[in-house]
Symmetry: C2
Subunit: 227 residues, 2 copies
DNA sequence: TGATGTGAAGCGGTTCACAGCC
DNA sequence: GGCTGTGAACCGCTTCACATCA
């Protein structure tokens, strides 16, 4: 175990490992090897071992990883051992869809409130979640201990909303506006840009000879050379 | 210009350049240098030049790029010079929100149809878009010339829906189910996994000393050494 | 023996630095 | 002089290969 800068690619994979471990638990397995995990989704086993080794020596040589133990470790590492409260800004269709997105509930995230500037929307409810005036953001954040903000507002307002959110003390923001934002360096900003993803699909369609390289497996299972 | 494999990172950036060029046009600019673009979003100018040079010599030395000309080139490269028709599978909240997502309309994508298996939903409309029986997928795809599918179905059905979609001849798929799917190698699959993004935020919150490295700019504007 | 943890090699993408051209 | 296009250096992530240990 080394104290190094952990890449976001690594933490993303931890999420995937965790999901897979949950599945394995459901199937009644007790241990799993890095090779076993690697085969399930087509990753490299060395990478899995390396990812995990950043955080500790969780494995047992000759055996593999105890699933339940490893699950607890990853849950802890990802901070999923405590609930997070989410505030969604923008009660348009996207914001409302996110408000009852199954994925939030599944992983210890609770949507505590929606926010909008539109008088007509304020006070209404989406499922269990009430829509508040964006003016009251700071206050509600404190009251409900909101620690994650989701921006589902039009691109032209995204930067100013981000600043408002930052002032309220939020340190983690997920942005759906298709525009690059500037965040303070102590704030984690994650932008999900659907426009870019779409245009990337379009590029592929315009150029169909450009095959999906990821699925071509060039790794003939090379014999291990001993010595 | 070289014929090489173009990385997806490059095409993603092309989307961003295109947006910026549109903005510049709106502001009445005629030309822009790679440095000028680089400053707008905090990229490296060499990278911009390299990205563009994969596709041709669009620039003029000593001048920069003619904005209108470059826009046309990028639009063509990304295949945005023709309309794409999108079919969304899953008329839950997410699917419906996507059906009238402003981002689709903005970039030459039209949502032609929604699909679901739920009898009660079939025949209803979301804005202009009708909800069809998933059984009729192939047929509607042909009728409406749908070339992009969006999967907004629960994770457990995603793989089978992907296969159905593939059989119908669709070559570009955007998946919102939080599960890694296997696609045929001639099909471009792009997964947007909100769960992973959320858990990545959670990791950051659990470990606040882990600053947002992206915003720390280590590149002191080094003096150029002329021999 | 069998699987982990890890230095070293490999690889792909980014940045530098400058020749080439307007 | 200014800016593009590009080989070379650099950097970080992935994969290999193996020493290590239950």
């Amino acid at each position: 175990m080394k104290v190094e800068k952990i890449s976001e690619l690594t933490t993303n994979r931890l999420s995937i490992y965790l999901r897979c471990l949950n599945e394995l638990t459901a199937q009644g397995a007790k241990t799993v090897s890095s090779d076993g995990l690697a085969q399930k989704f087509h990753l490299n086993s060395a990478q899995i071992r390396k990812d995990l080794a950043y955080f500790g020596e969780f494995g047992v040589r000759g055996v593999g990883y105890y699933i339940d133990d490893l699950r607890k470790h990853i849950t802890k590492i990802l901070g999923l051992d405590r609930r997070h409260c989410v505030g969604i800004i923008g009660a348009g269709r996207l914001g409302m869809a996110l408000a009852d997105y199954y994925g939030f509930a599944q992983t210890n995230f609770t949507v505590a409130a929606l926010f909008d500037a539109d008088r007509k929307k304020i006070g209404q409810k989406v499922g269990e979640v009430e829509i508040f005036d964006i003016k009251d953001f700071s206050e509600i954040v404190k009251r409900d201990k909101i620690d994650v903000a989701v921006l589902a507002v039009p691109a032209e307002f995204a930067q100013e909303v981000l600043e408002k959110v930052t002032e309220a003390g939020i340190k983690a923001v997920m942005n759906f506006a298709p525009i690059p934002l500037r965040a303070r360096s102590d704030v984690k900003l994650k932008t999900v840009d659907l426009t870019i993803s779409l245009e990337s699909l379009s590029y592929f369609l315009a150029k169909p000879n450009n095959l999906n390289g990821k699925n071509v497996k060039p790794n003939a299972p090379k014999a291990r050379i001993k010595k």
